[in-house]
Symmetry: C2
C-alpha cells in the first residue's frame, strides 16, 4: 500500500515506521513529496493539506494526529463517501491535558508560577507569600465540557473533596450562570463550535467570584481575551490558566504575556516525551485493523463536529 | 488568666482574640512586652524565646504555632515537669503542604515553572516544549516520612495509579537504596533528627534515575545541597522541588537559585490565606480544654523528637 506520512518524525521514529510497514511504500511529507504523490496514496497518517483531499481518488483512510478536525469540515460529500473514514486521536491527550489542568490550577493555588518567576529574579519572598496561597480542598468546581479530558480531571480531583458541577453540550445558560456565580474554579475543555464561540464574554466573566480561577484548555475562541485580561488586571478575577489562545503563537503585544495571575501554558498540555511514539503505536494498531477489513477506531463524526 | 501572645496578628485577628478571651489578660509580644511580662503568664500562644522558659515559674502551657519544636529540645526536666505540656500544630499543615508537593511535582512533569519563566520573557516555546513533558501517571513514587503530610500526599496520588513505596522512622538503608534506584519520584517530609541529617548525600543522590524527580518538604538538613545542584546541572537528575533549605532566606550566592529544573518554593508550603485564623481557632479550642482541666490536643513528645 502507498502511505503518505504527514507526521514529523525523527530518524529513529522513521526507521521504526519503515520496519513496521516493510511491505508498503511510505512517502514522508518533509522529503519533498507533492500533491501528485499524495494523490497516489491510499492512506494518510497525520494532518495533510485539506485542499488536496477532495480530488484524491485513491485515498481511503486518514489517521489524523489531532483530536480536532475542523480544517476538514468542508470536504465534499463525494469525497467523504469514497473514504472508509477519517480517524482522530480521541482519548489520546486526556491524561497529559488533565494533568496539565491540575498542575496549572494547583500551581495558581500554591503560588508555583509566582515562585518560579521570583526565583529567576533571586528574590526571597518566603513568609510574605503565605497569606496569598489557597488550597484546592473543598473548592466548588465547574467543569464545562464532558469529554474524556474533563472526565479525567474529575477523577484527579476526587481526593480534594471538591463540589463538582458538570456542563456538556446541552447546557442551559441560566444553569451555567448560576453555577459560575458560586464557583471557585471553572475549567473549560469544549471544542470550537458556533455555540461555544465567544461564550465566555465580558458579562459571564464578570459573574465569577473575585478570587475564582479560570482554566481554558479547549479552544481560544471560547473566551473574550480582552475582558479576561482586564478582569485579572483589576483583581475582579483571582487567576487563569490558559493553554489555548485565539492566535498561536501569541502576538508580542497581547495582554496575556504580562497579565497578573495568568499562567500561559502555550498549547503544550497534550505533550509528552513519548507523544510521537504513541501516535505511531495508534496508527499501526489502526493500520492492522484496516488491513483486516475492519473500521479504524476513532472515526470522526462531521455532523456533531467533535 | 495571663496569656502571652507571640503570634504575629493583624488588627482584626487581635480584636478577635481579645473578644474570645475577654476575661483574660493578653500580652502581645510586638507591643514591647519583655521577659518580666512573659514570666508572669500562665499560657503562651506562639513560639516564645526558649531561653525565657526554664525560669518562668507561672507558665503551665505553650501552644506553639509550628509543627517542629527543636528549639525547645533543651528545656530542663524541672521546667518540663512544671508544665502541663507544650502542644504543637500537628496535622495543621498537612493539606497545604501536600497540595504544594503535588503542585511542585506535577508542575515539573508538565513544565509549569519553565512556562512561567518563559512567559515572563515573552517567548513562545509551544510545540518545542512538548517532548520534554512527562506525566505522573503510573510513576514509581518513594515517600520518605510516614507522617500526616505524606499520608495526605498518598491520598492525592491515588487517581494517578502510582506505585508507592513508603519509608518511616524504621527504614533500612538497603531497602531505601533499592527503592530509590527504580523510583521516578522521591518525596521527603522527614523532620530533622540525627538519623536524617545529611542522609541524601552524594552517594544516595547518584543512585537516582537520570529523569527522576526529588522533593524535599521536611527540613533542609536532610540533603547535601551541593551534590543535589551538581546532579541537576549535569543532567544526572531530572528535577527537584525544594521547600526547605539549610539557610533561609537562601543566600544570594547559593547554586539553587539558578539550578536547572529546580523549583524553590521558599518554605511557603504550609501557607494559606486563613493560616493565622486557623491558628487562633486551634488555640481557642485547646484553651477551652485547658480551662476545663483537660489536656490540650497535640502535646509534643520530646523523647521521640517530633
Amino acid at each position: 500500500m502507498r502511505i503518505y506520512v504527514a507526521v514529523k518524525l525523527d530518524g529513529r521514529q522513521r526507521a521504526r515506521l519503515l520496519a513496521a510497514c516493510s511491505g508498503d511504500e511510505l512517502f514522508f511529507e518533509d522529503q519533498a513529496t507533492d500533491e501528485h504523490t499524495f494523490k497516489s496514496c491510499e492512506i494518510a497518517f497525520g494532518n495533510p493539506r485539506a485542499s488536496w483531499i477532495n480530488s484524491s481518488e485513491q485515498l481511503r483512510w486518514i489517521q489524523l494526529e489531532s483530536v480536532g478536525f475542523g480544517e476538514y469540515a468542508s470536504l465534499e460529500p463525494a469525497c467523504l463517501q469514497r473514504l472508509v473514514g477519517i480517524s482522530n486521536l480521541e482519548d489520546f491527550f486526556s491524561e497529559p491535558v488533565a494533568e496539565s489542568i491540575l498542575a496549572g490550577i494547583l500551581g495558581l493555588c500554591r503560588g508555583v508560577a509566582e515562585l518560579a518567576r521570583t526565583q529567576a529574579r533571586q528574590i526571597w519572598l518566603g513568609d510574605e507569600m503565605r497569606p496569598s496561597l489557597t488550597t484546592l480542598h473543598s473548592a466548588a468546581v465547574v467543569l464545562f465540557g464532558r469529554g474524556n479530558i474533563n472526565r479525567r480531571v474529575e477523577e484527579l480531583l476526587l481526593p480534594f473533596g471538591c463540589a463538582v458541577t458538570r456542563f456538556g453540550r446541552d447546557w442551559a445558560r441560566v444553569d451555567m450562570e448560576r453555577a459560575i456565580v458560586s464557583a471557585d474554579i471553572v475549567i473549560c475543555t469544549v471544542p470550537h463550535t458556533p455555540e461555544t464561540q465567544g461564550l465566555f464574554d465580558r458579562a459571564l466573566i464578570s459573574k465569577m467570584k473575585p478570587r475564582a480561577l479560570f482554566a481554558n484548555f479547549g479552544r481560544g475562541s471560547l473566551v473574550d481575551e480582552t475582558a479576561l485580561s482586564e478582569a485579572l488586571t483589576c483583581g475582579a478575577l483571582g487567576g487563569a490558566v490558559i493553554d489555548v489562545t485565539q492566535q498561536e503563537p501569541l502576538p508580542l503585544d497581547h495582554p496575556f504575556w504580562h497579565c497578573p495571575n495568568l499562567l500561559l501554558t502555550q498549547h503544550t498540555a497534550g505533550g509528552t516525551k513519548d507523544e510521537t511514539d504513541r501516535k505511531i503505536d495508534l496508527f499501526l494498531s489502526n493500520l492492522a485493523r484496516y488491513r483486516d477489513g475492519c473500521l479504524p477506531r476513532g472515526l470522526v463524526n462531521f455532523e456533531r463536529g467533535y
